[in-house]
């Protein structure tokens, strides 16, 4: 397309503005964690590392981080198993209702989180409570796993569609059992897709706040819940700044690694 000089300059300026919009808020969070002042007024009066060391000693944030990691690992494990099973069923079999299955997998993330949240909350309340199982870390893991299945599914199904089933058939013609063919042929082919899916599922669980609000029992506080609870407390502001800054740096790592792992990764963290 032959763009005029003016159009080219206008596009460059528009793109530059877009980049600025993307980066300025995140850079501000990073910079603000060194702000000696408790208020968020701009520009900061100076720079200090004081709050970083204060944040290290903050047991609330540390405990919340630990809960988030446990919830993330639990949800990722379940999602990895269930998502992979459905991906194999959808990619390697023809059956009635195949389209519906793919749709149901996406549903937990397509519907507003608050709808998923209250649905699970009232279901747990009516079914689990009489059995003596209250809301806690377990219910958080169950809730997170439900919407994490889709990212594992997306990654594995994309990989399976690109690798023909004929490899497995060839292995079996050469005398391998179904299990042997899976271990030696199929698994190595999907391994990086599994890893990418797991990373994205963990990132998704780690970031989730709405479903967590409705499935967490008393005393179960994940890092997003901790940030949300402390965000408006002036006393906690400096520590929240540091935790937010750390999260900016940490949260992009799994996404970046997942993107590198597989070219067909469903890049979005939600879909």
């Amino acid at each position: 397309m032959h763009l005029s000089r003016t159009a080219r300059i206008a596009l460059r300026a528009g793109a530059a503005l877009g980049f600025a919009v993307i980066y300025v808020p995140l850079l501000l969070v990073l910079l603000n964690s060194f702000n000696p002042d408790r208020s968020a007024s701009w520009p900061p009066p100076g720079l200090t590392l004081r709050w970083w060391s204060a944040a290290m000693d903050n047991s609330g944030a540390r405990d919340a981080l630990w809960v988030s990691v446990k919830a993330g690992l639990g949800a990722t494990t379940i999602a990895l198993v269930l998502g992979t099973l459905i991906a194999f069923a959808v990619a390697r079999h023809r059956f009635f209702g195949r389209g519906t299955v793919s749709f149901v997998v996406v549903l937990p993330i397509a519907l507003p989180g608050i709808v998923t949240g209250i649905a699970l909350n009232s279901a747990f309340g009516t079914v689990l409570a009489p059995l003596g199982v209250g809301l806690g870390l377990f219910t958080v893991i169950v809730g997170h796993a439900t919407f994490c299945i889709v990212v594992v599914f997306n990654n594995v199904v994309a990989r399976l569609r690109r690798t023909a089933a004929s490899y497995e058939e060839a292995a079996m013609d050469l005398g391998a059992t179904t299990f042997r063919a899976f271990a030696d042929v199929t698994f190595p082919l999907v391994r990086s897709a599994l890893l990418a899916g797991a990373l994205l599922a963990f990132a998704l669980s780690f970031d989730e706040i709405v479903v967590t609000t409705f499935t967490a029992g008393p005393g179960i506080e994940t890092l997003p819940i901790w940030i949300f609870d402390n965000m408006t407390r002036p006393q906690q502001a400096p520590v929240v700044n540091v935790v937010a800054a750390v999260l900016v740096l940490l949260s992009v790592v799994p996404i970046y690694v997942a993107q590198r792992l597989s070219a067909d990764t469903a890049t979005s963290s939600r879909v």
């Binding site: 397309m1 032959h2 005029s4 596009l11 460059r12 528009g14 793109a15 877009g18 980049f19 993307i22 808020p25 995140l26 501000l28 969070v29 208020s39 968020a40 701009w42 269930l82 998502g83 099973l85 459905i86 194999f88 069923a89 079999h93 059956f95 299955v101 149901v104 937990p108 519907l111 507003p112 608050i114 709808v115 998923t116 209250i118 649905a119 009232s122 279901a123 299945i149 059992t177 179904t178 299990f179 042997r180 990132a203 780690f206 706040i209 997003p224 940030i227 949300f228 965000m231 937010a244 999260l247 900016v248 949260s251 992009v252 996404i255 970046y256 890049t267 979005s268 939600r270 879909v271």
Partner: protein, 297 residues
């Protein structure tokens, strides 16, 4: 599993099992699907069904106990109470505004990375745009809280012009949601622009079209499905959000907030309200299905 058995016999069992699985694809399929489908249908669809049924129950206004008697009172209240109507219209308006802003911001960025920048820089630029945008939801909202707070960056930039920042409220909500969902718009638009055949643009130029005309008659129609695909996410994610509104929205009330504030006191009403975004999103999906956007999701 077979540690008790001698290795040879163990291998025989595995072989028989493998053979059985190989000759019975239905059995294999059943084994693959049972666990995930039980999880998704019983746990998830089951919970959703109970929630939507409970929208037809009512609440005893004295005890806040749910009364399990079928009635359409909640839906009647939804359409006749002015406050609810306002909140629903405001939420749909916010979702549309966010979608429009996302499209306006995403287009020049995607056009630049897909067609204007030097080819060897393009993949780098895409990573540079998208990676930071996948940062934590809450941190991104927090960033906007910092920018829009009193004496924050927005005020500092606008004060010399005699203006002040928008503060916390509806405008702040729209800005923050736009920032949050921007990647969902940039990604599909970038992909569509990247796949646009250069020959079509050349042909348009050969036929005498200037850049503006080529844009209107060639580029836009071909990118429209992906804009629509991106809008599914920007629209539906905005419609259900309530955390952002709580953090930067000031006194603004959207559907999500009203659902949230009704959960403890009146779960059936909250459930009825919760069906509104679901229905609106389904209608939106049906409306844009004509553009062919859904197949490119």
């Amino acid at each position: 599993m077979t540690s008790e058995v001698t290795p040879a016999a163990g291998r025989g069992t595995v072989r028989r099992l493998a053979g059985a699985l190989h000759t019975r694809p239905r059995l294999r399929l059943a084994l693959l699907l049972t666990a995930p489908l039980l999880w998704l249908t019983v746990l998830y669809l089951g919970s959703l069904t109970v929630l939507f049924i409970s929208a037809f129950w009512t609440t005893n206004s004295f005890t806040s106990q749910v009364v399990k008697v079928w009635s359409t009172d909640n839906f009647h209240a939804l359409f006749t109470t002015p406050v609810f109507r306002q909140v629903i219209l405001r939420s749909v308006g916010v979702a549309l505004a966010v979608t429009a802003l996302c499209a306006v911001l995403a287009f020049p960025v995607a056009f630049y990375t897909a067609r204007v920048a030097r080819p060897k820089w393009r993949p780098v630029l895409v990573v540079a745009i998208l990676t930071p945008l996948w940062a934590s939801y809450l941190v991104k909202v927090y960033a906007w809280r910092l920018i829009l707070s009193e004496g924050g960056l927005a005020d500092w930039m606008l004060n010399p012009l005699g203006l002040s920042g928008p503060g916390f409220g509806l405008t702040a909500t729209v800005l923050t949601l736009t920032y949050l969902w921007l990647p969902y718009m940039i990604l599909p638009v970038h992909t569509a622009l990247e796949q646009l055949p250069a020959t079509l643009l050349d042909a348009s130029a050969d036929l005498g079209a200037k850049a503006g005309r080529t844009f209107r008659s060639v580029v836009l129609p071909m990118v429209l499905p992906s804009l629509a695909a991106g809008s599914v996410f920007t629209f539906s994610l905005s419609l259900g959000d309530y955390i952002t509104v709580q953090i930067v929205g000031g006194k603004t009330q959207l559907i999500g907030n009203v659902v949230y504030s009704n959960i403890e006191l009146n779960l059936p009403m909250a459930a009825a309200l919760g069906t509104v975004p679901v229905v609106v999103i389904v209608l939106y999906l049906l409306a844009i299905r004509r553009t062919g956007a859904l197949s490119s999701l």
